[in-house]
Amino acid sequence: MSSHEHAADPDRGRIGMWLFICTEILLFGGLFLLYSVYRYKHPADFHAASLDLSRFAGTLNTIVLISSSLTAALAVHELREGRIARAKLLIGATLLCALAFLTVKGFEWGAKFEHGLYPNAPHLLSLPPGQILYFGLYFTMTGLHAVHVIVGMGVFGYGLREMSRGKVTLKNPILIENATLFWHLIDIIWIFLFPLFYLIS
């Protein structure tokens, strides 16, 4: 019954997704609030700590993620034109970008671990409080963001399967549309994370 009703009224699915996106923004909002307070309290420490991050890796990841948003948006366009095969290809490209993003992120985290810049590391604890907080927030916020990337990939993967089974079509594109909305949210959160952690001066 429900799937039939979804097909009849895509607006319902859209409203649901937008409401969900509101909750996601507020979820990250709590973290951004903590970030603002601690950066206000320790501006110099935050700047010093940010120099330990690789601006190159951050910029690369920003480009990769924005590209993935573009391919996802194009996939929706192709789907609305009824070109399922192309849409599937573009979603495949989105998934590849997401994988690249996670790989770069993994190397970045790995480098921090090697330098003793992880929570409770003896080296990190010897630094001033502002730097401890900076890295605590860095790992929490990029970690939560990475979890969202993985979830988004799962949704797109499921979408690909449903497209192959003929469940997502020109007339019933809501699954891919909503997945793309969610993906844009992930992108936008990164757009805020990038300058806040990598480009502090």
Partner: protein, 541 residues
Amino acid sequence: MGDTTHPAAAPYFAPHDGKGGILAWLTSTNHKRIGILYLALIGFFFSTAVVLGVLMRIQLQSPGMRLMDARTYNILFTMHGILQIFLVVIPGIPTIFGNFALPMLVGANDMAFPRLNLFSWYLFLSGAILAGVAVFTNGGAPDTGWTFYVPFSLKTSVNVPLATFAVFVLGMSSILTGINIVTTVHQLRAPGMTFFKMPLSVWGLYATAWVQILATPIVGITMLLIVVERLFGIGVFDPTKGGDPLLYQHLFWIYSHPAVYIMILPAMGIISDLFPVFSRKNIFGYKMIAFSSLAIASVGSLVWGHHMYVSGQSDTANIVFSLLTFLVAVPSAIKVFNWIATMYKGSIKLEPPFLFALTFVFLFSIGGLSGLFLGALAANVQLHDTYFVVAHFHYIIFGGFGFGIFAALHYWYPKMTGRMYSKRAAVIGWLVTFVGFNAFYFPMFIMGWQGMPRRYYAYLPKFAELQLLSSLGSYVMVAGLVVIIGNLLYNAKRGEKASANPWGGATLEWTLPSPPPLENWEEPPTVTKGPYDYSGLGEEK
């Protein structure tokens, strides 16, 4: 409002398509069945929490009582709080009646997202199981109080991470229910049902759903941060690493104060539906009641700092939060006056649901007015963390939410079961609970005023008489609850068959048979009259 239902349709709880038994219930996406599933779980959690509460009252019966040690007492009030707040009161009305009644009230056949709805129930169940597991594993039950305040929650040896994660999962369930309710109200109203022809219970649930959506993520992230802090030590709330425990309190109350309105707003909505029915009169000030729900939801989101007057936050913050706190009293009072005005020159029938509704208004008024004492900065310094606070929120939450949900249960019981409970037993249960309640909680106002701190397992001899009175009151109240719940359970299968509209209500669910079929309407009803227009509606025998 035509009755377009097939008269011979089987009740929603009967086996359907040849599928019966517990499995058919656990896989059903039907809104009425999911409502009953929630009712079963929440009823169980409520009973458990009541038992924990009684154990505490036995310990407090006399100053030298040694039923338990201090740590056990700490665990008891923590678990009592977690159960009542996160598993009973916050989910209570939106999940039980938001599911069972809301689609019928707006003339829909189901919620907007039926499968998501069942998924929310499973999330709720998972959160409850996680909380249950946390009690018995990895150091044992939390002893932090339901608020999980840092730095203690970071230092205590007990199983805080799992308990806070359970709260996070319960929060997700609550968010999804909120999304479902908002979408249902926007998309699935029957033809002719404009926003201002919606029953006020729908307005209450709608305002609540927005609070669920907009406030819950904050407590979600806060609980996750406790987990991350405990597992990895990131330091954001840990003063030894430069973190600020006060920020935890801010984040926690940004959600947990609006959560109070998640608890009380839907109850207020249902009460607003009951006053006209049992006064046989249109509601007084429909729009004011509807808008005051939204006003409470929005202003109530800006008052969290009143939990932190003595935490050392700035005087400016204190004064602003105090002012905003007083402002919330305005829309609350609007509701109370409108309910009273509805009764004026009405043809009042003191049926059991209405007795509970009237008690709601009486107890909520006491609770609300005592809230003004606590909202005042000077008085708060004296009253903070005393029994006065305990009395205040039990008057609001038990007196408000508790009596509200009992009113709702007694009101929609014929719709839920197709039967009628014993009205005499219901009145006896109500009276005993009401008397016990006041003997239980009112002495706490006095003790709090005299300086009795909350969360202590022992006390000075000067409080002995009032503590004893309070304990005795609690036993009486529990006896009343046993009568109420027993009456409802016993008559679910054995009671007299109820008619389609036993109270003479004018809202849409009463045009359906009792109990309704699985599919409410074959064709959506067309709404031409307001929800409280009783012209041409006699009471059926």
